[in-house]
């Protein structure tokens, strides 16, 4: 059976149309089925839906024969691991965008100033960019999303995907360098290509696609230093900076802010999410970011206070145990359990039983997939999994077990999604809720201290009422 990896997210619709035009009907894919494993009518084979970022990795691992994803994600893999057996075959002509290095706030050309901060969802590309330009003592902040919102306060440069320069300008960014013209590509595992007959799927897909080789990254030439002082991580400022989360955490935080009478007047509620909402208090500056990225920004001092999930905080502390970030309030909302999850077919109710089963089956390496690789690694070490492999994934995790992973470190609220995907939790790791985090031992003064105390105490009072209810 030929195994095909298909993207979830924005690319799902356009790719479904390409498949349909090629005479391949992937049951439920275009319709947004919640099932992760889909059968393919017309070409034979089986399809699995992944977050786009995970597809080149799955192809490189040989778990899937062919796949479709943006060229930018292929280059993200190849920038760090150039020898991986991933072969771009055809440009499918959809999902066009470009990768830019861009800046805001007065930086209108690329300069080699020491200590520049580069934020990106594409950290390997960002590293290659910095090395190509020979930026001295640069720092790459790998972020889950919203990198376009980082300059100028939280990064000097963002390496971002955007449709064009106009789309960058809409975020207040100036392009400094165009790194790649990206679109959705049909890719294959080199070994599968060499040894397996993939023609039933390749033929129809390649027929309608554009010919030509995939463009590579265009890296900037080495730049001389401009002689200016190093960029500093934390600028002195008057305002207190509060970060609020987007995504599934947003509704919980909106409720918490509403209860604490701190809801911004516009730009952040159940229906709306702008990156810089208006502030309800003078001297309070609000930015909306991915919850995963907040502990890092608090640790470096860019953000004073952030609402995020305890899962994100523990993930950060698992990777950086001495990071100066602390939980200052449990907001008592958005509760779920982070658990070790296995297939229902594993005849065990706890981890010891599952390990005994896998070892009995001759499995030498336990594959652990998670959106929280730091927590997963810490768990695997602490629970003596022996030889294990952590597979960091961007999402759609339920579909990984049992084919592509043995164990998931996974969030579960009611257990319904697990049951639908024939999974079961065998070990509770911790209970996560929305929390307020701040810098450990950081001293604020004047208006900033006043605002900090006001926001924290208002949210704590609201949380106590929520907890009591």
């Amino acid at each position: 059976v030929i195994k095909l990896a298909l993207p979830a997210g924005d690319l799902r619709g356009p790719v479904a149309r390409v498949l349909a035009a090629a005479g391949l009907h992937v049951e439920g894919y275009g319709e947004g089925s919640r099932s992760y494993v889909l059968s393919i009518a017309g070409g034979g084979g089986v399809a699995r839906v992944f977050r786009e970022k995970d597809i080149p990795i799955q192809i490189a691992l040989g778990n899937y024969d062919i796949g479709v994803c943006g060229l930018a994600w292929i280059e993200e893999l190849r920038a760090r691991f150039p020898g991986q057996p991933v072969v771009p075959l055809r440009d499918l002509g959809v999902g066009r965008s470009a990768l830019f290095a861009a800046a805001a706030g007065g930086m209108d050309r690329l300069v080699a100033r020491p200590g520049l901060r580069i934020a990106s969802e594409f950290p390997n590309v960002a590293e290659a960019f910095a090395l190509g330009a020979r930026l001295p003592a640069y720092r790459v902040q790998a972020v889950w999303g919203a990198a376009e919102a980082y300059p100028p306060e939280d990064a000097d440069i963002a390496v971002v995907a955007a449709a064009d320069e106009a789309a960058l300008a809409a975020h207040g960014l100036t392009p400094l360098h165009r790194l790649l013209d990206s679109s959705a590509w049909l890719i294959a595992n080199a070994d599968s290509l060499a040894a397996r007959d993939l023609a039933p799927l390749l033929d129809p897909l390649a027929r309608g696609a554009r010919r030509g080789g995939a463009p590579g990254l265009r890296l900037p030439p080495p730049l001389p230093t401009d002689g200016r002082a190093p960029a500093t991580a934390v600028r002195s400022r008057e305002a207190l900076r509060l970060a609020l989360p987007d995504g599934h955490q947003q509704r919980h935080i909106v409720a918490a802010l509403r209860d604490a009478a701190l809801l911004p007047p516009s730009g952040y509620d159940e229906a709306e999410c702008v990156r810089r909402p208006a502030s309800p208090l003078e001297g309070l500056e609000i930015k909306v970011l991915r919850p995963h990225d907040m502990p890092q920004l608090v640790a470096t001092g860019e953000i004073d206070l952030a609402a995020t999930g305890r899962d994100c905080l523990i993930e950060h502390l698992s990777r950086f145990p001495s990071s100066p970030v602390d939980e200052v309030a449990d907001l008592q909302r958005g509760q779920y359990n982070l658990a070790a999850v296995v297939s229902e077919d594993v005849p065990a109710d706890d981890l010891a039983g599952a390990l005994a089963y896998w070892h009995g089956q001759g499995r030498r390496v336990i594959r652990v997939a998670s959106e929280f690789p730091g927590i997963a690694d810490s768990y695997a070490r602490g629970r003596h999994l022996g030889r294990y492999q952590i597979i960091p994934i961007a999402g759609a995790s339920e579909g990984f077990v049992p084919e592509d992973a043995d164990l998931l470190i996974e969030g579960t609220e009611t257990g319904t999604t697990l049951a639908v995907n024939r999974l079961k939790a065998i070990d509770l790791i911790f209970r996560s809720t929305s929390v307020l985090i701040a810098g450990k031992g950081r001293r604020l003064s004047g208006r900033r201290r006043e605002l900090y105390r006001h926001v924290v105490s208002a949210l704590r009072r609201a949380a106590m009422r929520t907890g009591a209810v």
């Binding site: 901060r117 910095a130 090395l131 001295p136 640790a299 950086f320």
Partner: protein, 397 residues
């Protein structure tokens, strides 16, 4: 990933000892730099080349939340320059080290290499380059190896590429192709430099012998590529001094690979046609890593490659005696360990645990004294520790 077995370790120590004692004889002092360094030390222009940076092991440390990475030391010269800038700035420093470097290698090749390195920082005169070449040659010769010296200067190729009007990125790409032996580059360059009369092949693809070859290059090219004059002058001084000391060297313009920091004469040591070490002048590096501008040069010998090339040493025979207890009770064990300690105090190598090497002497301890076997002739009973020591000395030393 590779283990070093006892026999290989013995060869490695021979290399290390020859190197260390030569360095001390020439007035150098030993240093050590950390295995884990900040990545930014190696990423600034003029340090490691992008190709080399693509093979380093870098990662976020446990306190790397700011995104600043650390790296397993891929090179020892840059950390030595940092050490000098931080702790010895302004002085003439004669430093050496024996330490490992880590770089990705394909397949089964080792990703860890041990280097015997020397850095001479603060010495502007060419006598520093000459001293380093003679020192490296002396180390290899003292190990019984026949050494060939190759001499180069990165300024030669840079002058040609700059004269061809190439930008920095194009220069880098072409430089690598030249080093890879891609002869089509020569035609490309010749096309860009129609006014250069002589064939660039003479300069970029041919190796010559010492001062004579350098004179020929100057006569052929210095008029049309003025940038060649300075590197040719520097090379002439070094090559001329070495020739006068009976150290013949071959000149090769295309030799220096993957290190952007070389600014002056560079050299390689070869044994049986294989590169076993090299180095050169790096006058800009100390200031790039935060120190005051300081002239410098250095080299590193690949200890593993040299150890592998060493001629086998005839077996020295058994060098350790084994003491055994007649019984396993505490009194007998204590007596055995007591005898072993007394013999070691007398300068002998003596073990208690482990089996006796084939043909090596064994001493059994009992209430009746000491029974010595394997020391030539029949086993014999000895009464005093000193008698045992004397008998073992004749076998072991």
């Amino acid at each position: 990933m590779r283990d070093t077995l006892p026999e290989e370790m013995e060869r490695f120590r021979r290399v290390e000892e020859a190197f260390r004692s030569a360095c001390f004889r020439w007035g150098y002092r030993e240093i050590r730099t950390p295995v884990l360094e900040h990545l930014h030390l190696f990423t600034t222009a003029g340090t490691l080349s992008p190709q080399m940076l693509g093979r380093v092991y870098s990662f976020l440390d446990w306190d790397g939340w700011s995104g600043e990475r650390v790296v397993l030391r891929p090179d020892s010269t840059i950390p030595s320059a940092r050490l000098y800038a931080e702790s010895m700035n302004g002085r003439v420093a004669k430093l050496f080290y024996v330490q490992n470097v880590f770089r990705f290698a394909e397949g089964d090749e080792s990703r860890e290499d041990w280097q015997c390195g020397v850095e001479l920082i603060g010495e502007r005169r060419p006598l520093g380059d000459v001293e380093l070449i003679l020192l490296g040659r002396e180390v290899l010769s003292s190990l019984g190896l026949e050494v060939d010296v190759r001499l180069s200067h990165p300024g030669l190729i840079r002058a040609v590429l700059a004269r061809a009007g190439l930008d920095a990125a194009e220069q880098l790409a072409l430089y690598d192709r030249i080093l890879d032996g891609d002869t089509s580059v020569l035609a490309e360059l010749q096309g860009r430099l129609p006014d250069v009369g002589a064939s660039l092949e003479v300069l970029l693809a041919v190796e010559g012998e010492g001062s004579a070859y350098l004179s020929n290059l100057r006569a052929s090219f210095a008029g049309s590529i003025p940038g060649l004059a300075a590197p040719l002058d520097e090379l002439s001084v070094v090559a001329g001094a070495l020739e006068a000391l009976d150290c013949r060297c071959r000149i090769s313009a295309a030799m220096v690979r993957n290190f952007e920091y070389y600014t002056g004469p560079a050299f390689q040591f070869e044994v049986a046609g294989r590169r076993v070490g090299g180095g050169g002048r790096y006058d800009a590096l100390v200031s790039l890593v935060g120190g005051r501008q300081a002239p410098a040069s250095g080299f590193a010998l690949e200890a593993g490659d040299i150890a592998a090339a060493l001629p086998a040493r005839p077996s020295a025979g058994p060098r350790v005696a084994t003491v055994t207890a007649a019984k396993s009770d505490r009194r007998s064990l204590a007596a055995a360990f007591r005898l072993a300690a007394a013999l070691r105090e007398r300068g002998l190598a003596v073990q208690v645990a482990g089996s006796a090497p084939r043909g090596a002497p064994r001493v059994s301890v009992s209430g009746k004294g000491f029974l010595l076997a394997g020391a030539g002739g029949k086993a014999r009973r000895l009464a005093a520790v000193e008698d045992v020591a004397q008998a073992l000395r004749s076998v072991l030393q």
